[in-house]
């Protein structure tokens, strides 16, 4: 029966080409607009580490000693040096890593290129296995390198291409500021979305959070040795007191280091929660903390949600696009109604020859679905154009934008579903046509 209805639908669509084209166009434009924004939304709001993010947590304590009058009781977004080092050094989680980013002058003595400013991530050996960072050549440094302050570095695929033309550069030397550092690993191309391990301060960004989707750093160094190499080059996230002139950042009342921990089970999570609460209480007893009760342990996705990582413009565009799709659907309902009612005579004959209401309904729905499918093809083309336009925008995440398989399927599912929903009302109307009345007017 479906084949017959399909054939009927094609004949019907061919009969009034203008009306068919209008309907297909309306659906295509609506689908194109909404899928373009939905694809961007999907890419920006996704889980950067699927399957693993649930085991990653972001410990927070409150080192501030100022009794902030309008204290919203949310600890600082990152940690002060001492808390970070002590929590990390306790090794109470399955894996734990420190992260802080800075920039510094970089030259490669063996390569004839002008000095450039590179971004450097100061981190620890656990960073790479913890966040599934892929290596092209070599590998991570070892835990003892963190302790021994070894002058080693891992570089990004991008930097390796710029400096060494993509060749295996393990064992080569980089000059970072005034120190020589040996390359032990080169990353394969790696572009987490968002750059989750650096997300902080989203609540102060007024929705302009596009920078959370920036590219990862060029250089990765063991935390302790990077502090020596780029001494004075680190910037605080914020300070609860103005630091003394000339004081080292490590000793100043500032927060600038983030800590990530991996906790494999719910028991470990609650244990760790207790551990940081105990740590804060102990620090209060030592007179270092004032707000000891103010500790947090959000999971990665909770932390990303709290920071509202998806830029508000993107969210606004998505809303707008769906309002637009809704308008296109109303349009399609109206046009389908016109189309089906115009065929009242034909439907009357079918009913008189014994077709049930259900059969007429099915026939109309097949036709609506076919229009949706055609609209989906148009919508797919328009989505590709839309995404191409987004890629041309000066956005930090422009290079991330592409249509993946999930969104490709979503286009057609959404198009067919939307047109079937739009077709339901006109189809019901058509199936209620009284055969007698129609036959009389023939």
């Amino acid at each position: 029966m479906f084949g017959y209805y399909f054939d009927l639908a094609i004949r019907s669509l061919k009969r009034n080409k203008v009306l068919t084209a209008l309907m297909v166009l309306a659906i295509a434009v609506g689908i194109g607009a909404s899928m373009t924004t939905l694809t961007v939304m999907h890419l920006l709001s996704g889980d950067p580490l699927p399957g693993k993010s649930a085991t990653l947590f972001y410990p927070q304590v409150d080192p501030s000693t100022s009794p902030d009058p309008d204290h919203d009781h949310q600890p600082f977004d990152v940690l002060d040096y001492r808390s970070a080092m002590e929590l990390w050094g306790a090794h109470r989680a399955d894996r734990q890593t420190l992260v802080t980013s800075s920039s510094l002058r970089l030259t490669a003595p063996e390569v004839n290129l002008p000095p450039l400013m590179a971004t450097m991530l100061s981190t620890t050996a656990d960073f790479f296995p913890m966040f599934d960072v892929p290596f092209e050549y070599g590998g991570s440094w070892h835990a003892q390198d963190d302790e021994k302050r070894t002058r080693v570095a891992v570089i990004s695929a991008d930097l390796n291409r710029r400096l060494f033309g993509g060749a295996n550069s393990v064992g080569r030397t980089l000059r970072l500021k005034n120190s020589d550092v040996r390359i032990v690993g080169v990353l394969a191309s790696w572009r987490p979305s968002p750059l989750f391990y650096e997300v902080a301060g989203g609540r102060f960004a007024s929705g302009e959070t596009a920078d959370f989707y920036a590219k990862p750093e060029d250089v990765y160094m063991p935390f302790a040795s990077s502090l020596e190499v780029n001494d004075g080059g680190f910037q605080p996230f914020t300070c609860w007191h103005v630091p003394d002139a000339g004081a080292k950042l490590q000793n100043s009342p500032c927060v600038w280091v983030a800590l990530w921990v991996q906790l494999g089970s719910a028991v470990k999570v609650s244990d760790y929660r207790r551990f940081i609460a105990d740590y804060a209480a102990q620090q209060k007893a030592l007179g270092r903390f004032v707000h000891a009760d103010n500790t947090r342990l959000p999971s990665m996705m909770e932390w990303l949600d709290f920071n509202q990582v998806v830029p508000s413009d993107v969210r606004l565009q998505t809303w707008l696009a769906f309002a637009f799709l809704l308008i296109c659907l109303f349009n399609t309902i109206g046009l389908l109604l016109a189309k089906f009612m115009r065929r009242a005579g034909e439907i009357g004959v079918r009913r008189a020859l014994g077709a049930t209401r259900r059969a007429v309904l099915a026939q109309c729905m097949v036709e609506a679905g076919l229009i949706g499918l055609l609209g989906g093809i148009g919508g797919w083309l328009l989505t590709m154009i839309g995404l191409w336009l987004v890629r041309r925008q000066p956005l930090v995440y422009a290079d991330l934008v592409h249509l993946d398989a999930v969104m490709f399927l979503t286009i057609f599912v959404l198009a067919v579903l939307a047109s079937m929903v739009a077709g339901l009302l006109p189809a019901l109307r058509a199936s209620r046509i009284a055969p007698g009345l129609q036959l009389k007017t023939l």
């Binding site: 203008v18 009306l19 209008l22 309907m23 166009l25 309306a26 434009v29 609506g30 607009a33 009058p69 309008d70 920039s103 510094l104 002058r105 000095p115 450039l116 400013m117 500021k177 102060f204 007024s206 929705g207 302009e208 596009a210 004075g232 007191h241 103005v242 003394d244 002139a245 508000s312 413009d313 969210r315 606004l316 565009q317 707008l320 696009a321 309002a323 637009f324 809704l326 308008i327 296109c328 109303f330 349009n331 309902i333 109206g334 046009l335 109604l337 016109a338 189309k339 009612m341 115009r342 925008q393 000066p394 956005l395 009302l425 109307r429």
Partner: protein
């Protein structure tokens, strides 16, 4: 023109009428709010930064050793001054639309109890005030004695010049001259007020805080180096900046030029607002597509109705209706449907605005957007129905006599 028969006919097509009206209502709601968003964005990009943007450029250096900062400043200032066409070279910490440098929370009392907001300090040498071209509206410009050495990241005590916008925020309605504020132990007194002074970028609190800036006179030193303000005739500026960028390699080979940040202020401004412009462009695209789809819907349904009523039209023509009567019939019908849509649409537009206000910190939709939106949709409806209505008017009376 009698409206009653039109009503009666519409009541026989309740569903189709309602669908078109709902489509118009949604279009009206989206149209009004999208237009309002565009206007809000465009207004933000029209910001008066208070400085002579066309005549200014900046150079930013990184990667130098802060122990050499004083020597670096001297080399850069004297080196860049020799470039033909250069009117002024100044040491400054930041420029409007550039990178944030000295951003700090201030309090209106020494004890730090009364929080005033997070503002940007422009720390600059004696050349900068004139080079920026700031427009003083009250008080005095910084004088030679005001430029003090700076041992920390702010001077211990300084007479500053603030923007009118910041003065209004800190002391609404009061005379700001002589007023004081603090950033912990650092103390500031307002010596002058300028009409406008944009900071590098707006902070927490949105675009309304873009002018929370204080011009702070200081002497360059280890804590103030690396960023330079260049002034030249607007016609020479691109060449002067190019020469300056090239000269850096010779004057200060030990530094790295931050290419992204070393631009004319006009270029930085363009970059600062590009996201707003892109958003406005996208909204215009949505509006055009929206109007197009709505018009297509009206054309489609009106064509259907015309075809369905060919016989009735023929009969009306046969018993004396003129072409004009038929044309007006369909125009009136469209007007009534669109009006119904607009009435619903205005309510919907307001509801949508309330939603945007809570979720996106958008101001309230000004009421005059509603009649403008209504007018646009009436016009669109009439344009869309014109084609089918003309076809209806062209139906010959002889149709009435056929196949009865």
């Amino acid at each position: 023109m009698q409206i009653k028969p039109v009503f009666v006919a519409l009541r026989r097509h309740r569903l189709a009428t309602l669908l078109i009206a709902l489509e118009i209502a949604l279009a009206c709601a989206v149209l009004c709010n999208a237009c309002f968003l565009i206007v809000t964005r465009v207004q933000q990009t029209r910001l008066d930064s208070g400085v002579d943007e066309a005549a200014l450029a900046t150079i930013k250096l990184t990667g130098y050793d802060s122990a050499n900062a004083i020597d670096l400043n001297a080399r850069i200032v004297s080196g860049l001054r020799t470039i033909p066409g250069m009117q002024a070279v100044s040491v400054i910490n930041a420029v409007p639309f550039g990178d944030h440098m000295s951003t700090a929370g201030i309090t209106l009392d020494a004890a730090g109890q009364h929080f005033g907001g997070v503002i940007d300090f422009y720390l600059a040498d004696p050349v900068a005030f004139k080079a920026l071209g700031l427009q003083l509206v009250a008080g005095r410009a910084p004088q030679a004695g005001d430029y003090q050495p700076m041992t920390a990241f702010l001077p211990n005590s300084a007479d500053v010049v603030i923007s009118r916008s910041l003065a209004e925020h800190l002391w609404p309605g009061a005379d700001p001259l002589g007023k004081e504020f603090w950033c912990e132990k650092f103390h500031f007194r307002v010596a002058g007020v300028v009409a406008h002074l944009a900071r590098p970028s707006a902070g927490e609190g949105g675009p309304g805080t873009i002018e929370w800036a204080a011009f702070t006179p200081v002497q360059p030193g280890p804590n103030l180096a690396g960023v330079y303000l260049l002034r030249a005739d607007p016609r020479d500026l691109p060449r002067v900046l190019r020469d300056a960028r090239a000269a850096i390699a010779k004057i200060a080979p030990d530094t790295v030029l931050d290419s992204q940040a070393s631009q004319t202020i006009s270029e930085l401004r363009l970059r600062y607002f590009r996201q707003d412009r892109a958003m406005a462009g996208m909204l215009i695209g949505v509006i055009v597509a929206l109007l197009l789809v709505t018009a297509l819907g009206i054309v489609g349904l009106a064509s259907f109705w015309v075809q369905q009523r060919r016989k009735q039209i023929g009969i009306r023509r046969a018993i004396g209706a003129t072409r004009g009567d038929i044309l007006h019939y369909f125009q009136t019908e469209n007007f009534l449907i669109v009006t119904l849509g607009i009435v619903l649409g205005m309510l919907l537009a307001y509801a949508l605005n309330l939603l945007l206000m809570t979720r996106y910190e958008l101001p309230r939709l000004p009421l005059y957007y509603l009649p403008i939106g209504a007018l646009a949709l009436w016009l669109l409806g009439q344009l869309a129905v014109l084609g089918p209505a003309l076809r209806a008017a062209a139906v010959p009376p002889v149709v009435a006599t056929r196949s009865v």
